[in-house]
Symmetry: C2
């Protein structure tokens, strides 16, 4: 179904919203934990749900290399592959390819690069990226963009942005064309399967994706089929633990189900466009205008958090975000530190993703209300207190800094788990705090105090 944002309240430029996607509702402003290889590192889906994650991100670049899109497709998409029933956003793979630098070559067609896994030559065009993301069956797919490096001259940034816009148009055309064809294929497959509630992909069939949401069809199939099955599985898993006594839920995935039928009950979502243009306001606005011709159901700001100073990033947001459609979600890609998220929400951003909480956790960097601590520091060796006395997460309720330092020193998996639980709780709790502040019309005063305290702890 087409992603649909309902803005419940505004507070200055900040918005409180409900983003409805194929696999559920995301409260915004939202943080998306990153699940690179079909797993948010060290976490189960049930744990992520318990922490309050409404949506997570999958990386097209990584998944197309391992296990390959066809393996995920065989499962009926990324949700089933990784056993996550809530929404998923997939990126386009562009950012990771551009990070390869010397190993990749950009042409008008797309990018070619040497696989860091096996050295093979891989092609990623806008059409390839859409094909992969359609197989992943994400709720939100992203257009392939050319991520402008920092710094870039006006002409470099223009050339890059204009390529991104041509690729955005190709992404859009291919994504909806293939969705339509996928719907036809699935109709044909479903005709031979009397029990399946599969219909055509009604949303994709609406030419130009004008925003109409058609009830029934896939929506009904999801509620009665896969969705219900997964909900039962999660419930049993979360409440009953892993014990032998827990009732065995009926398996959604078996070796007997045909791939076409698997696909039929997990329809893809919508495609977001990505604003580029480097640090150049006029280019950013031209990029946004170009994207708005295509009626994307949501827009991202890309090409930030690539090394630019904070003031530059905020200046770009302040010049672009006010022109973005008020009724569409706004996603700031790859950001960032807690204070960066707060600053961007103040400027009207709704969605965020960043590897920082999970990667920091595995490196022993833990977020607290008074700043980041390094659990490897010897000062924690005999510390019987929790990471943060103000934190109510599972880790802080049950484990000492001394124990967490020990686990880290011994490279114990449980250390990565407990640290990740804590850091993700910190981020997701921050988003809850932000949403509550917007709801109560006190975001600015709260944020002023918050940003001042973060700055102080960093000094």
């Amino acid at each position: 179904m087409r992603p649909k944002l309902e803005v419940l309240k505004t507070d200055g430029a900040a918005r409180l919203g409900r983003l409805t996607l194929t696999h559920g509702v995301v409260e915004t402003p939202a943080f998306m934990p990153v699940g690179t290889y079909g797993t948010v590192k060290a976490m189960t889906p049930e744990e992520l749900e318990g922490l309050g994650a409404h949506i997570c991100l999958g990386n097209t670049f990584h998944l197309m290399l391992r296990p390959g899109a066809d393996i995920v497709d065989l499962h009926g998409g990324l949700h089933r592959f990784m056993h996550w029933s809530r929404p998923i956003l997939t990126d386009s793979g562009g950012f990771q390819v551009f990070s390869l630098k010397s190993l990749r070559k950009i042409t008008e067609e797309g990018v070619r690069f040497r696989s860091p896994i096996d050295g093979s030559d891989v092609r990623l065009t806008p059409e390839d990226s859409m094909d992969v993301q359609l197989k992943l069956r994400s709720d939100i797919a992203m257009a392939l963009d050319d991520c402008t490096p920092y710094p870039a001259t006006e002409s470099e940034a223009r050339e890059s942005m204009e390529r991104s816009m041509r690729w955005a148009a190709r992404s859009h055309a291919h994504y909806y064309r293939e969705r339509l064809r996928g719907g036809r294929d699935m109709r044909a497959a479903a005709a031979g399967d009397s029990g399946a509630a599969a219909g055509g992909d009604s949303d994709a069939a609406v030419a130009g994706d004008s925003g109409a949401v058609v009830a029934g069809g896939f929506g009904a199939g999801v509620a009665g089929g896969f969705g219900a099955d997964v909900a039962g599985g999660f419930g049993a898993g979360a409440a009953g633990g892993f014990g032998a006594g827990a009732p065995r839920d009926s398996r959604a995935i078996t070796g007997n189900a045909g791939a076409a039928v698997e696909n039929a009950d997990s329809p893809p979502g919508g495609l977001f466009g990505i604003v580029q243009g480097g640090m150049h306001t006029a280019l950013r606005l031209a990029s946004l205008e170009s994207l708005m011709q295509l009626d994307f159901p949501g827009f991202a700001v890309g090409g930030l958090a690539v090394g630019e100073p904070e003031e530059e990033r905020l200046r770009v947001l302040e010049s672009v975000v006010p022109h973005m459609p008020a009724d569409r979600p706004r996603y700031l890609m790859g950001v960032g530190r807690p204070e960066d998220i707060v600053a961007a929400v103040l400027r009207g951003i709704d969605m965020f993703d960043c590897v920082m909480p999970t990667r920091h956790a595995r490196n022993g960097h833990l977020f607290t209300s008074t700043g980041v601590i390094n659990i490897r520091n010897s000062v924690h060796q005999t510390d019987l207190g929790p990471i943060d006395p103000d934190c109510g997460c599972y880790t802080c309720r049950n484990y000492t800094r001394s124990y967490l330092r020990h686990l880290d020193r011994c490279n114990e998996i449980l250390g990565s788990r407990l640290n990740t639980i804590h850091n993700l709780h910190f981020y997701l709790d921050l988003m809850r705090t932000i949403r509550a502040a917007i709801a109560e019309g006190r975001l600015t005063s709260w944020a002023t105090g918050y940003l001042a305290s973060r700055k102080q702890s960093a000094d």
Copy 2:
């Protein structure tokens, strides 16, 4: 308190029992997952409980090197350190030291070895091992033994066994002497702390550890204090997940509680002796007779699973176990494969530990009802079935072989977690099956079929 076994039923030589320890009851025959560094690798304590583990094992050798016994002592023992409220058995460190081979030197005093962590010179005497295990505050401690290598001549095995027996006597004397002194220290500490329900260690004060169980004293302290606190924490953690909405339980551990008071409510348990003697029946019987002079509350068979053929191991068990006291638990150290456990239960063994299920899991070797599979095998690449269609564990209910293979290839932590859940479930479920078969007096017929099927799948 003194470990106390109640034999509920026998079936041939096999016994169904309830082993009551300081931190709870263990149903026997029991398998103890190995928690080397104060964590059963990749698992939380709640997950272990959910899988049906009644007791786990901690390694004295590893914990004395990292984080050091004093750090664990500062937490009030290994239970609090690792947030595990059920019983713990600690080994003596002997087996690991003997595995170091060229890096260690055995004398009558004990062993000296070069630390594999930092190269420092470390001493481990029977008294040292007891001191460490008392600080770990395990429910069951093990005497330091000289683990006879395989093969060994009669005279080599005799010399080694006799040293083990002298060390067992020193272990016994030191363990109970220090417990008694610890009780006095704790009484003195508790006198200054009006709220603590700490008394002397009544059990330790009974000279010779004759088996009397004194009610009140520490028992009461545990039930009303730490025990209740931990139970609440587990409950909230298991039912509510890690979400922010879960009620924050009061912290048992703070930076303010004195170490003496911490110690006072988690009393240590009892010491087991270890039968040695290599593959020589007469030596084994002499070893047992020697240990029985000391009134250990339980006995282990050591020096097996060191490379000997299966028939030799079973012959030793058949010659020794019938002479072991029927009212004391019998523990076969370091064993083993599922079929080894079944064979040993048939010969009267009650307790087992082995790293096999957890280590195999991390290496992608997964137990199934038809044998061990290697998830790295390419045959699983597109397999949408679970590890074992007959298994009801969390992993088999929710994930495909294809996904597990992918996680393993990407070295994802979740892969180790899901594999460990499955393998531990397999072992703990086996123990449940064994106990049910004994309870119903059909162990022999069940075991005959089981062992035949395992043999077939291994061929």
